[in-house]
């Protein structure tokens, strides 16, 4: 510029120059944004890879478990067969009663009562219910017998099924029903 040049343009103020510098720095810093985004993206890709890898591992584990389960199906089948058969047999087993046990129970329970005159018969119905019929001299003795039967834990649903008084012979005929608990 010539020595005798006179610059008529106004000079930038200090503030304007500072702003300009700041903008310049900001533009430089902003250039790092895509780099930062790339870094974050790469980080996420790595994390995704790790999760995907775990998914693969779990899938393999589940496949192994399924194979093991298939190998052990036979145990499941055996247990299922036993459970099913036992369920089916339960109502039958419940009726598996040794008649001698019932006879003994009745005889023992009655023999202590002198006014129970006789036992005339025993029956069993298809639903498993037992009954016995007999004769008693008094109602009172009969009620004692019923009470004793009711107290017996092996007998359930003890009922006096029928009762009748014969005036001529002065005896009370009765029939008692109950269930014998097997299980």
């Amino acid at each position: 510029m010539p020595k005798n040049f006179v610059n008529l343009l106004t000079k930038k103020t200090q503030g304007e120059m500072k702003d300009a510098r700041n903008i310049e720095f900001s533009s430089i810093y902003s250039a790092f944004l895509p780099i930062l985004a790339c870094v974050v993206w790469i980080g996420l890709v790595v994390a995704n890879g790790a999760v995907a890898n775990n998914v693969k591992i779990e899938k393999v584990n589940i496949e192994t478990q399924k194979t093991m389960e298939n190998d052990m199906t036979v145990f499941k089948k055996n247990n299922g067969q036993l459970v099913k058969k036992i369920d089916i047999l339960k109502p039958i087993i419940e009726r598996d009663v040794d008649p001698n046990k019932v006879f003994d129970q009745i005889r023992k329970n009655l023999s202590t009562y002198s006014e129970i005159l006789s036992i005339d018969g025993y029956t069993r119905k298809s639903d498993g219910q037992f009954s016995f019929s007999g004769k008693s001299r008094t109602y009172l003795e009969l009620s004692r017998v019923i009470k004793k039967f009711e107290e017996n834990a092996e007998l359930k649903n003890v009922n006096l099924k029928s009762i009748s008084y014969n005036k001529e012979s002065d005896v009370v005929s009765f029939a008692v029903t109950f269930y014998y608990v097997t299980l």
Binding site: K66, E69, K77, N79, Q81
Partner: protein
């Protein structure tokens, strides 16, 4: 003149300087704003397209992982239970063998009670008045279509409903009419109950020919008449061949311990 030329020249120079200055300012503005603008656009582009996509992918994978882990846990529980079943499989097989022994398949030839009844009545001086052998297996129903003797109760002794076994079991009822002393009938039953087979006394009607005091029943010579029906049970082929039904039973299902214990005590060799 010289002075005028010099002034003109100076004016041209100043004008050029102003133009240069404006050009520099424009370049400076472009420099200052384009780089951040491009950077921000690139950032947003990467963020929107790649990062969001990857985050979504992570989220999906994580959800899948959670599901797989839940499945794995369920499978682990199943395997634990299966291992328990594996451990007790020998006992299960033994129990099944006992059941198969006493309740065979309907195709198995059921050895009848005929021989036993004939031998024992003879042995204990009982009079076998009549006998009908049930070697033919019948379907069990709720009692509406089959014989009364083969009917199963629909409620148990406690009044609870019991499952019908119409499709699973077959029954062979054997009826007999026996006469004799009460003590001999007791001996017959004692031997009958020792037979290692499941025979159920379905119905019984034991009547004395006269009145006997309870204490004298076992010693009395009084004659008793007994109408009795025994039932022999067998599993139907349809039931046994349907293995899918067995595998469908939950792994956690446990056979009724009371019944198992009863069968072991009574029938295990």
């Amino acid at each position: 003149m010289e002075l005028a030329d010099r002034d003109l020249k100076t004016a041209d120079e100043v004008s050029g300087s102003i133009k240069n200055s404006k050009k520099k300012d424009f370049l400076s503005v472009v420099k200052q704003y384009s780089i951040p603008l491009i950077s921000v656009l690139l950032f947003l582009g990467i963020a929107v397209i790649s990062i969001f996509h990857t985050v979504n992918s992570i989220s999906d994978n994580y959800k899948q992982l959670e599901k797989l882990q839940a499945t794995k846990k369920t499978n682990d529980d199943t395997l634990k239970k299966l291992n328990v079943l594996k451990e007790r499989d020998a006992t299960t097989i033994s129990d099944l063998a006992t059941i198969d022994e006493i309740v065979p398949s309907e195709k198995t030839k059921i050895v009848g009670l005929q021989e036993f009844i004939q031998n024992k009545t003879k042995e204990y001086n009982l009079y076998l008045k009549d006998m009908s052998i049930g070697e033919q297996l019948e379907k069990i129903s709720d009692g509406t279509t089959t014989t009364k003797s083969s009917k199963l109760a629909t409620v148990d002794a406690k009044g609870n409903p019991i499952s019908l076994t119409e499709n699973s079991l077959r029954v062979a009822p054997t009826s007999a009419k026996i006469e004799g002393k009460f003590s001999d009938i007791q001996k017959f039953f004692a031997d009958f109950y020792k037979v290692n087979d499941l025979y159920i006394i379905t119905t019984m009607n034991l009547k004395s020919s006269g009145s006997i005091a309870p204490a004298e029943i076992t010693t009395s010579d009084q004659t008793w008449t007994m109408d009795i029906t025994f039932s022999k049970y067998a599993f139907s082929e349809d039931f046994l061949s349907n293995e899918t039904a067995f595998t469908q039973i939950p792994i956690s299902a446990v056979p009724n311990e009371t019944v198992i214990k009863y069968l072991r005590d009574r029938y295990s060799k």
